[in-house]
Symmetry: C2
């Protein structure tokens, strides 16, 4: 098969790069996307698009049927959703947590949101307002940059701790040192991690949970990629192994569940906050200042979700409920579907690693990382921004790890979702050329 | 026709009222609703339900077809919505503003939201953060209480001005006095007004607009009931009379459009912010502190809508776009459909006014109020809380005006949406009994 030769026409690529209002190496996803779209049009070529972190699979008809039933049969389009969320979705979430996390929880503690984005926004707001003086949100980095914007919107403070330098005991020690200052109200992380696909180990989650209890910090577990550590099969309902969660180790937790990646449901903005029952019942006089109520659980709902969006779309709530029910019943294996991303990651990693690239974040306490939605790359003697720019000449688009707040200057993030396995040969060809044109001197 | 006799069994009603954790006269909609549901079950009776402000009509199939096309044909359920909103909805909103408000606006200034609730939340946040020291949001009262919660969530300040005491010149004078203190960043009102159905006159809107320009205040026009002043027919596209708006009188405006009442689309949480093009292009260094960007227009989008919900459901965006297009094309007359509320209001008002009740807010600068979604009531020698409680014995449920922040201690709010005209005879019977049992002494 004859591939489009690389590098592409350097004049055209350079010209489009120069139109970007900032150096392309530090540009946002959106800016990189714009430049790449223009080059594709100019040259009639197709990039390997790794800059976006968006689903590359289809939404199941189960969701569409659930939405249709709610809107057409039950005529819910004209009916305000209840503050707490649709009972069907609350129950389905509780059952899902039982089946896949081995976590028994009252449906009342499962609060639907307009995507996990709203879950993060509300959780951060509550976390930073429960206790006077504990108005800092700590992030395990790198991470999703918008969560940090949310902290600024609330007028709260933030701090960070990088997973590159901190895993296992070192992570827990650093966390304890930071918590001990007494100003941290919430700790937010994602595992599997965007952008590195690091997965925290059970003992790390246990340590985090215990520290959150000891220092009274809200553990905000962003579980956008729930169960997608494909080294294990977490996909059999009510059977071990169960997907790990901090919820087993503290009463101070909120799990953010998102329909976007697990179910490729990004277009309808649907997620659920799963709040610790003990935490749900707490009261806090300080919380009242901004959240009007002193009941922690209620503050997530009203004013939390209510005063920001007056609840969540009926259609999407019932669509997600249908997907969760089908998963719990063993009729829809969401991890079998999303395992496609692991296959893509394995093939793509090989194409890079065979040609001089290295993984930046490359192990979980000694164990090789799982293959999944993202991985991280570097190339010898190149910074992240240099690598992003040079790869554009070879038909590959990505963003730097710096954009996600990593301490690693040399890294870029690769998202596999838009690259079917049948395009990986082309990727390998391009990276062979790249490698040939950028020889690595032996050190 | 034989109606269920009133008053209902006093022991049962009193017992359920006593279970409410607060005096029923000052309880929230939700609490009143709970008490009434229980009495209905206990006694097998049906109340005239006036406490809810929810649509009582059906969602048009036009919306359902629009949603279906987006999700089934275009498979958008798995595709993240764009930050700025779906181009189809942005264009349809711009056309709608042209056709019904005589307002020409760039589609880029039309930003979809998860209901007008999110529009209000984001607008208040931006309004209070554009200029250092201008962190107070002023409300024309009475109003929708949740907007005031939003101010507290943002950590901003609020102040109020009641429309009962302030109309016409008095309103403008009071506004100017308040604006002159220099701390007001935003002014929010609804017209037609929830809960009084007061409609601001063109000269009032003109004065408000000019003052917002003079004192650099963001005019936040909550237009949830756009065009529903049924004394006029604003429903013929591209033909006068056009629904009045402050947008003709200032460059500092945001109009909050809501699908919930105009199109009975409350279940899917869909609205649009229409932002003044001149305002959209402004920059503010102070804004950056919390909103990251210094461009005012962009701040509504990113982080505004983006960091709270990552955009708006694809289905609902395309459903509303379809409704707006049909309205602009003259194929769907949304004001003919919602005129049903005016018919209900006229009949219900008569049942009350014939039996000793009075309107509290009763005129627009001398002109009788329009019939619409809400009206306000009082009964001689009773406070609002007393009236709410006593009416429960006669099969009528409502909330006090105090709940909506009115200065009028004697008032209650009546929402007509759940009372079809064919139940008004029963209402009249009940109010005759009420009147007979509560004779008004001549003063």
């Amino acid at each position: 098969m004859a591939f489009t030769p690389v590098p592409f026409d350097a004049k055209v690529v350079a010209s489009r790069i120069s139109e970007c209002p900032m150096p392309i190496g530090i540009a946002s996803i959106r800016e990189v996307n714009k430049v790449v779209n223009l080059i594709e049009q100019d040259l009639g070529v197709r990039y390997i698009r790794m800059e976006f972190g968006i689903p590359g699979l289809s939404l199941s008809p189960i969701a569409l049927d659930g939405e249709k039933e709610a809107l057409v049969e039950h005529q819910l389009g004209s009916v305000y959703p209840s503050f707490e969320g649709a009972p069907e979705l609350k129950q389905a979430t509780a059952d899902f947590c039982h089946a896949f996390l081995n976590l028994k929880i009252d449906p009342k503690c499962c609060i639907p949101t307009n995507g996990a984005m709203q879950g993060g926004f509300v959780s951060i707001g509550v976390a930073g307002n429960i206790t006077a003086g504990k108005d800092t949100i700590l992030f395990l980095m790198p991470g999703f940059p918008v969560n940090q914007m949310q902290v600024r919107l609330w007028g709260l403070k933030m701090d960070t701790l990088d997973l590159y330098d901190h895993r296992g005991e070192a992570l827990l020690q650093a966390l304890e040192n930071r918590f001990a200052k007494g100003d941290v109200g919430g700790l937010l992380w994602s595992s599997p991690n965007n952008p590195t696909w690091v997965c925290l180990k059970e003992e790390e989650l246990q340590g985090i949970g215990e520290l959150c209890t000891k220092y009274d910090v809200m553990a905000i577990e962003d579980y956008a990629y729930l169960g997608m550590d494909f080294r294990q099969n977490y996909g059999v309902p009510y059977k071990p192994p169960y997907a790990p969660t901090v919820a087993h180790y503290t009463d101070n937790y909120v799990i953010l569940i998102s329909g976007s990646k697990m179910f490729s449901y990004a277009g309808q903005r649907i997620g659920v906050m799963v709040i610790s029952p003990a935490y749900f019942e707490r009261t806090s006089a300080h919380l009242k200042q901004r959240f009007i109520v002193d009941n922690v659980g209620y503050s997530f709902i009203h004013p939390g979700v209510y005063a920001t969006t007056a609840g969540v779309s009926q259609g999407a709530q019932h669509g997600l409920a249908a997907l969760l029910r089908a998963s719990v019943a063993g009729e829809y294996d969401f991890l079998k579907v999303t395992r496609e991303y692991a296959d893509r990651a394995a093939a793509m990693k090989k194409a890079f690693l065979d040609n001089g690239f290295q993984l930046v974040y490359d192990n979980d306490l000694g164990e090789p990382l799982a293959d999944g939605f993202y991985f991280t790359l570097s190339y010898p003697n190149m910074t992240g921004p240099e690598l992003v720019e040079k790869l554009l000449y070879y038909g590959v688009s990505a963003i730097t790890l710096k954009t996600a707040g990593s301490v690693r200057e040399e890294g870029i993030r690769a998202c596999v979702s838009l690259t079917p396995v049948d395009r990986v040969d082309e990727l390998a060809y391009r990276m062979q050329q790249f490698h040939a044109d950028h020889p690595v001197e032996s050190q």
